[in-house]
Amino acid sequence: MITEIIYFNVFVILGAAIVAIAIGLSKLLATRKPSEAKLEVYECGNIHVTGDPRIQFKIHYYIFALLLVIFDVEMIFVFPWAVVFKSLGFFAFIEMVIFIAILMLGLFYAWRKGVMKWV
């Protein structure tokens, strides 16, 4: 367990170090001539950027995100069940079918309610 955590941390640190070294190297080698027009963010057809990108706009999928939370929890619940499925037998299978059926009912309810329509 400790070994696995050490490995994970070493991988993360080395990955970050590689990115830092590569970007540092490019800082040394690259030319650097900032100008007013170059530092402007890109926008099609405009010389000067109009408006602010960080505005409120309707994200269509926030209900999808709620559904994701439900199904991700389901997935975490189903994984251990699947690992020991062979020794659990018929009864556990029926239980899981009922569990998934309830979730599917919810999904079809959301479907009929028009949640999954992109308007």
Binding site: Y7, G15, E43, P53, F64, D72, F79, A82, M116
Partner: protein, 335 residues
Amino acid sequence: MLTSGQLLEFANTNGIPIWVLDASIALLLSLAVFAICGLGVIVLVYMERKVAADFQLRWGPMHVGWRGTLQLIADAIKLISKEDIFPKNADPWIFRLAPTVMFLAAFVGLMVIPIGPKLVVQDLNIGLIYALAIPSIGVAGIIMAGFGSYNKYAMLGSMRSAAQMVSYEVPRALSIIGVVMIAGSAKLSAIVNAQSVWYVFLQPIGFVVFLVASLAEINRVPFDLPETESELVNGYHTEYSGMRFMFFLFAEYIAMMAASALTVVLFLGGWHGPGPAYLAPLWFLIKVFAVIYVMMWVRWTLPRFRIDQVMDLGWKVLLPLALLNILITGIIMLL
């Protein structure tokens, strides 16, 4: 060659704590994994360009080196020496950290992929969940890039990416439940060892759902909505240049390698193949490249989906199919 017993004894006699030993071995292994990644990405980008050229009846890169083999080295040198432009209004920390986050997520995820019998960095018991969970952190990097660069196109691209991740995470994870049920383990090496028959034959529905959802997860065509060139310029990495841009590219190709390696491990028999045991990594490599070739083939065959079609496919087709697959697998295993 030192065995682990000798190493432990050496550490004990010299008073080196065990965790230092572990960490130094991990450091060597992570450098090796990075070297494999770098080499793999060079081969993949070359392959991508050559395959694309082949599908469009052109030659592709031909001038640098023999048949353009050194083209990627030239590109890397060019990218290193390019100016790292930092837009005026961009958020300094979020903008700079985004490529790191995306690269790390893809790179650390490779830790559990077994390329041969015993040839794996860390064979976790929950390797399968790890291999699904860690690479999907990459979407945080995409959203950081979109939000940090203060650009409308980048913002829209990253938002689309979030939508796509949300939709395809679920069918992708549920499609492999059938594999776990048959193999009886979530350890990747155990799953490969259990495959006397490739699971693609036992789990055809799961395989198709997994492959399609994988394409969506790594933002490949026909699901490359986060970076649609024709409408969003370049999506979330519009404002990036030089080395940071290269790390986005790097992360994308590593994610592609990891996704195809996972497909091979779960459905195509991993390192199994005819011939002596030392050929196992070679078989693994051949299968991975076959899957990658299929992905490139798909790229030049199918047009891009619209965003609502993407969401519909995820929730109304793939998710019910994945659940149906669990049901069918369970019934057949109980009979």
